[in-house]
Symmetry: C2
Subunit: 204 residues, 2 copies
């Protein structure tokens, strides 16, 4: 699948979680509608009175996640930019999401500011299949951060990792190899390798 | 409703969003199961290999949100503590959530660590009614942070705020008053009061 397909899952879920960090470094999260998805961009809005709006102006890094009824999850992280030409975007958002009129009737809609996430990275995680499936993707070519674990050449081929893996996603070889798209990142192989041949990819 | 009723909504949704802040101050969010709710406490687990686990050990402040099919949302923020007697809690979690065995069969379950949120504060938000309803609540008596706006004695009674309010949640009086449980926190009254009589409650 391509990036727009993953973002379309978020648009179909529509009510997804948006996480921010406030001025004191504390996490916050709330349900926000994905209003428009196009050209690998995500559009949303919030009113200027909300803490969410204050947090976005102070620190525009956001992390998003939603899950559909088929236990498919999409995560995106990126930076949210306030859009120029706000009235145009709010009108378009209301046109494509008419239930917004129930909450913000008439001209009260213009208390909302429209934002876009243009660049970011994301992950698709499908818990409905066995083994699980996961893929990373990029919004507008932002480099992808690789996560999880890899088996180095220090592997002695004892097979302990393969036997322990809850998803059976490690295959024999020199070295043994983790099939990354099926890996939970649980760390069971990493904790139990007798020669510490398994490395955690540094992400934070 | 009482705190346990609000937490039960999260338990019923089950797959909710957990936000954390990483060592670089960046927000992260992912779908995590609410495994047990009792005595105003929330129990969950994650495996030791995941970034989520690393983030919790570095900074245990979490923010949670979930929404049910009736457009009722619950948010909770608090600190997550790793539980002593991990095997007991993981066994109990698997007993009450048997589908966990599909993902972590056999003894692989013990790569998971159990956590609890004992103290925190939360908010219930019901978008299915008009006007909307919102209530704050506390987990184990943590003080509640008041949000939103209040009208001060500087109010001249012109009624502009009442006419503009998208939820019709401002009533006449000296001063006029915002019915807090119906307020969106949109800020339209605050932006348009001709005498700046409306104050934002400082939360961040």
């Amino acid at each position: 699948m391509e990036t727009n397909n993953y973002l379309q899952i978020l648009r179909d879920v529509k009510d997804v979680a948006f996480a921010t960090v406030d001025a004191n470094g504390m996490p916050h999260v709330r349900i926000i509608d994905i209003m428009i998805v196009e050209n690998e961009k995500i559009y949303f809005c919030t009113s200027r009175g909300k803490d969410f709006h204050q947090q976005l102006l102070h620190n525009n890094h956001v992390a998003i996640t939603g899950m559909n009824k088929n236990y498919q999850m999409v995560r995106v992280s990126g930076q949210a930019q306030r859009l120029e030409n706000n009235a145009y975007w709010i009108d378009r958002i209301f046109e494509e999401n008419s239930s917004m009129n129930d909450v913000y009737p008439g001209k009260s809609r213009y208390i909302l500011d429209a934002f876009v996430i243009e660049e970011g990275e994301g992950e698709f995680f499908d818990l409905s299949v066995s083994p699980i499936n996961r893929y990373s993707f990029s919004l507008n070519k932002k480099p992808i951060t690789l996560k999880g674990f890899v088996i180095s050449d220090a592997c002695i081929g004892c097979g302990k990792c393969m036997r322990n893996c809850p998803q059976q996603c490690i295959v024999e070889g020199k070295p043994y190899e983790i099939i990354q798209e099926h890996c939970l990142h649980c760390g069971l192989c990493y904790e139990n390798c007798p020669v510490k041949a398994i490395q955690r990819r540094k992400t934070i």
